[in-house]
Symmetry: none
DNA sequence: CTTGGTTTTTAATAATTATTAAACTAAGTC
DNA sequence: GACTTAGTTTAATAATTATTAAAAACCAAG
C-alpha cells in the first residue's frame, strides 16, 4: 500500500464522502451513535491509505523506544513445513542473536504468500515491525516493494545491489577449499553430486566447483556429474546410485563433491551398503558445513559458512549494528574448511 | 507503561523545560540542528509518559488493525534446524490461523533452552505474549512452570491432565484404519518399520498397531519389526534394507506399516531399486499423513490427523475460541484414512 | 404519509501540532 | 573582547484535529 504523502482527516473525509467530525470520532473510538459498518469503513480506509496523525513519526524513534519485533520472510517456494536444515540453522542463529538483544523474530510468511497489500498492512507503522530478514533469494520486484516499505531489510544468502543490506557466505571460497583439500590428498578425478536442481544456488556452486578445479588444471567429466531434485540424505543416496553402474571404468572419480552435507551423508551410507569404503575407496566432500561435519561417527568434510553465523550477522545488521551511516552493507562471511572423516588419500 | 491521560506536546515541553517547537521537531524526526542527546531525551520522555498524538486511538482500532503475539515452544531436543515436517506443518497451520485473527506466532525457544528465569522474563506483562502453544511432549515440571506463568497454554500432540488445554490426533484410530484397510486387501502378514526410536510417540504407535492387529486376530512377528533412530526417507530405506535378507521366507510380510509417510516413501524407493514392486509385491502404509499422501506419482496410503489442522485448532484454543468457561479442553481430532497408491491387494 | 429513533452533518470554535525567520545563548577560538 | 557556530527559543500563524449543540438526513414501522 503506497504512502506517497501525509493524508489528513479532512482528506479522508472527502475520500469517504463523510464529515471530518465523523472521521475524528471514529478514529478515536467513539462508538455510540455511529453505525458499526461506517466505523469499520472509516478505519479500514484510514489504515489502507496509511493515515497517521500529526505529532509523532513512529519511524523516527530512537531504537530504545521501539517495540521489538523483527520479521522474517522465506523465499518462494519454501514453507515452514518444507525441511531445510540450512535455513533452520539461519533461523536459529537469528532467533538467538535477536533474543540476546531483547528482540523477537516473527514469521511474516513466504514470498509467494505476501501480496503488496499484505506487506503494506504488515509494515503499517502502527504494527511496529522493526525490520525484516529475507531468507534466500526472492524476486527483485518483491524486494523492491519491501525496501520501499521499510528501510531495515537484510537479505540472507542473496544480494540486491543498492537495495538493502545482505549477508552471504563466501561460497566460491568453500569450493576452492574443498578442491584444494582433495587435490592435496591426491585426487585428480572428481565428480559432482548436485541437488536442489532448480535453484540458482546449485548452479552457482557447480560453477564455483568448475572454477576451483580449473585452477588445478582439472575439469568435471559430464558422465560423473548428476543433479537430483532435492537435497536430502535419501537423494544423496539416489545420486551416487545413478553413477555406480559406471564404477568399473578406469576413469571413475576417486572423490565426489556434493551440494551439501546431507547428500554426502546419504551417498556415504549408500556406498557402504554396496560394499564400498568411505574414504578408503571414494572420498566425499561437501560444499557446505552443518552438524554432520562435526558430530557422530561419520563426519563430512566440507567447507562453508555456518548458517547460524549468517543468522547472527543478519540480526546485527537489521538492528543497525556495525552498519554504515548511509548506503548498504554486504557482508561476505568466510567459508572455512572443516575436515571430517569422509575424505582420505587416493587409494593406490 | 501506564497512560493515565492524554498529555500534549505543550505539556511535554513544560516538563522537559524546552519549547513546544523543539518537541514537535524532534518527535517528527528532525535531526539537523538538534543535539542528539536532546533528541533522545525528548523521545524517551514522550514515550515514558505515554505521549501519543491526537488523531487516532490505536487501541480503538477494529481487531484487524491490532498486532498480537502468541508464543510457541518446541519440545526438547528439537531445534529450528532439526527438520520435522510434522511440526513444520503444525507451525504452518498455527501461523495461518493466528494471522487470520490478527496475531503473530513468535518462537520462544526449545524446552531445554528455557529456564524458569527466562520464562519469567518472557511472560512479563509488558511483553504482550498472549498465550503459548507447546509443540510436542515436554517434561511435566516444565509444563507446570509454564502454566503457573500464563493460563493460556495449549499442548499439541500431548496431554497434561488438569494442567492445560491440549489438541491431539486420534492416533489409535489411525492404526485401526490402516490395519482395517490392509486386512480388507487380504494382507495377513504385516510388519512394522518404526522410527524416532527414543520417543514415546513411537512406542504409542507401535502399541496401537499391535492392538489394531489383535482385533483381526493378527500379531506382529518380531523378526519383521525394526526401529531406526530417526524417521526420514533415508532411514525408511535403511529399515526395509535391514529386513530384505529375510524376504525369501515363506512368512515374510506382504505389507508393512511405517511410523510415518517419510519412511514409507524411502522404503518404497529402496524396494523399487531392489526390483520389488510397490504395491504389487509389498504394500506400504503409514501411521500418519502428509503431502506425501496426496502429491506426486507415489502417494502413500496412511491414516492420521493433518498436522496443519492441529496447529489451527491450537490457535483457536489459545485465543479462547470454543473454550469452556472453566477447566481445560482436550481436543482429539479425527484421523481419517487417506488412500494413495502404495497399498494394493495381496499378490497371489 | 407520519412518526420516532438513529445516524450524520453543519458550523463554529477550542485545542493541538507544524513551521519558520529572527533572535538569543553558550561554548570555543583567535 | 570579538567572532563564529551549533543549538534553542520566541512569536506568530497555518494546518490539523477535537468537540458540541442544533439541524438535517435517513430508515423502518405503522
Amino acid at each position: 500500500m503506497p504512502r506517497p504523502k501525509k493524508v489528513s482527516q479532512t482528506q479522508l473525509a472527502k475520500q469517504l464522502g463523510i464529515s471530518q467530525a465523523l472521521v475524528s470520532l471514529a478514529l478515536n473510538g467513539r462508538s455510540t451513535g455511529i453505525n458499526p459498518d461506517t466505523y469499520k469503513r472509516i478505519w479500514d480506509h484510514a489504515v489502507g491509505v496509511g493515515y497517521l496523525p500529526k505529532g509523532m513519526r513512529v519511524d523516527s524513534t530512537p531504537d530504545s523506544a521501539r517495540v521489538k519485533q523483527i520479521g522474517f520472510i522465506l523465499r518462494a517456494p519454501l514453507r515452514l513445513y518444507i525441511p531445510s536444515t540450512y535455513f533452520g540453522h539461519v533461523q536459529h542463529g537469528l532467533h538467538h542473536a535477536l533474543e540476546a538483544r531483547g528482540y523477537r523474530a516473527v514469521f511474516l510468511g513466504a514470498e509467494d504468500e505476501l501480496s503488496p497489500e499484505k506487506l503494506g498492512q504488515i509494515f503499517h507503522p502502527s504494527h511496529h515491525v522493526g525490520g525484516v530478514a529475507v531468507l534466500g533469494e526472492v524476486a527483485q520486484p518483491f524486494m523492491a516493494e519491501l525496501t520501499r516499505l521499510t528501510r531495515r531489510v537484510v537479505a540472507i544468502s542473496a544480494r540486491y545491489h543498492g537495495l538493502c543490506h545482505s549477508v552471504l557466505g563466501n561460497e566460491p571460497q568453500a569450493l576452492i577449499e574443498v578442491v584444494r583439500h582433495l587435490h592435496a590428498l591426491g585426487h585428480r578425478r572428481i565428480g559432482w553430486l548436485g541437488g536442489n536442481a532448480t535453484l540458482g544456488r546449485h548452479d552457482a556452486r557447480l560453477a564455483a566447483l568448475r572454477q576451483a578445479l580449473k585452477t588445478h588444471d582439472l575439469s568435471l567429466d559430464p558422465r560423473y556429474l548428476t543433479v537430483v531434485a532435492e537435497a536430502d540424505r535419501a537423494e544423496g543416496g539416489e545420486a551416487i546410485h545413478a553413477l555406480l553402474p559406471h564404477a568399473k571404468r578406469r576413469d571413475f572419480p576417486t572423490a565426489f563433491v556434493t551440494y551439501n552435507t546431507q547428500m554426502a551423508y546419504g551417498a556415504s551410507l549408500a556406498l557402504q551398503r554396496e560394499g564400498w569404503k568411505v574414504p578408503g575407496d571414494i572420498s566425499l566432500a561437501s560444499a557446505d558445513v552443518s552438524r554432520l561435519s562435526v558430530e557422530g561417527a561419520l563426519r563430512i568434510t566440507g567447507a562453508g559458512t555456518s548458517p547460524d553465523k549468517l543468522g547472527e550477522a543478519a540480526a546485527r545488521l537489521v538492528l543497525g549494528e556495525s552498519m554504515p551511516d548511509e548506503g548498504y552493507a554486504d557482508l561476505v562471511l568466510p567459508a572455512p574448511l572443516v575436515i571430517g572423516n569422509s575424505t582420505g588419500p587416493v587409494r593406490k
